[in-house]
């Protein structure tokens, strides 16, 4: 029978993979993908605790707000990345070290 722990283990592994992508990737879009993995692992935790805490609906509402924030964050982050690409002609986060011309 699948219990709470199995979901938590999958979410922990997903969190570690996302964090590794955030640390080691240089391309800003790949960093953003790692961020989405971390947010998804947090959402799995919210909903797993929601079910195994007696189908408490508040956990699912928290997950909805996480999804809303992820959508807003992705839109703004990609706008910033496009702007960086216009100025620098690349999106490598470790070579972007100027804040003004």
């Amino acid at each position: 029978m699948i219990g709470l722990n199995e979901y938590l283990v999958v979410s922990a592994l997903l969190f570690c993979l996302g964090l590794y992508a955030i640390i080691t990737r240089k391309n800003a879009i790949l960093v953003l993908m790692g961020l989405e993995l971390v947010l998804n692992s947090a959402n799995i935790n919210f909903i797993a605790f929601s079910k195994f805490g007696g189908l408490n609906i508040h956990g699912q509402v928290a997950a909805i707000f996480v999804i809303i924030l992820a959508a807003a964050e992705a839109a703004v982050a990609l706008a910033i990345i496009l702007n960086i690409y216009q100025n620098f002609k690349h999106v490598n986060v470790d070579e972007i070290d100027k804040m003004r011309d």
């Binding site: 993979l17 879009i29 189908l55 839109a75 990609l78």
Partner: protein, 167 residues
């Protein structure tokens, strides 16, 4: 039918972890973007297994239909697809080693924590759909957060359009 649930669970778990590994370790950015699709889809499958039907549909519509499309647009606009190798760039070996060490420590800590804590669990009632309770809670207990989220989305739309505009 109960014996099918572990099979489905492990299928979705393998789908999530393998495609997430492709996202993290792939040399080509476009493969990472498409592997992300399978990760999101597997997470939506988890939501279905966890009695969160509304969240599963939301996941598919917003993550796969919205965020992933945005990310793929970002990939296409910022990398030269015509080149054979898309230079995606990775950090040096030493930095990678330290990152791997840190991630391993975090992961082992989390796994030890999860296997030792006795979570308080309750029996969950059988309900057909979570849409009606979520709607009731969103418009009563979370009405302020709901309105703030709508204003936040409006600000994000205006801000993103303003930032991405060509000078």
């Amino acid at each position: 039918m109960d014996y099918l649930i572990p099979i489905i669970f492990y299928g979705f778990a393998a789908m999530i972890l393998i495609s997430a590994a492709v996202v993290v370790f792939s040399k080509k950015i476009i493969y990472a973007a498409f592997a992300l699709l399978f990760t999101f889809f597997g997470v939506a499958g988890f939501y279905v297994l966890l009695n969160a039907d509304f969240l599963a549909i939301t996941q598919i519509m917003i993550y796969i239909g919205g965020i992933l499309v945005l990310i793929i647009f970002g990939v296409m606009l910022t990398t030269k697809i015509t080149g054979v190798d898309i230079k995606e760039g990775v950090t040096s070996k030493i930095q990678k080693g330290f990152a791997l060490l840190a991630i391993t420590i975090i992961g082992i800590t989390l796994l030890i924590l999860y296997s030792n804590v006795k979570w308080v669990t309750k029996e969950f009632p059988e309900i057909k759909s979570t849409i009606i309770p979520i709607g009731n809670v969103l418009l009563t207990d979370y009405i302020l957060a709901f309105e703030v989220a709508s204003v936040l989305l409006l600000i994000a739309i205006v801000g993103a359009a303003l930032i991405a505009r060509r000078k």
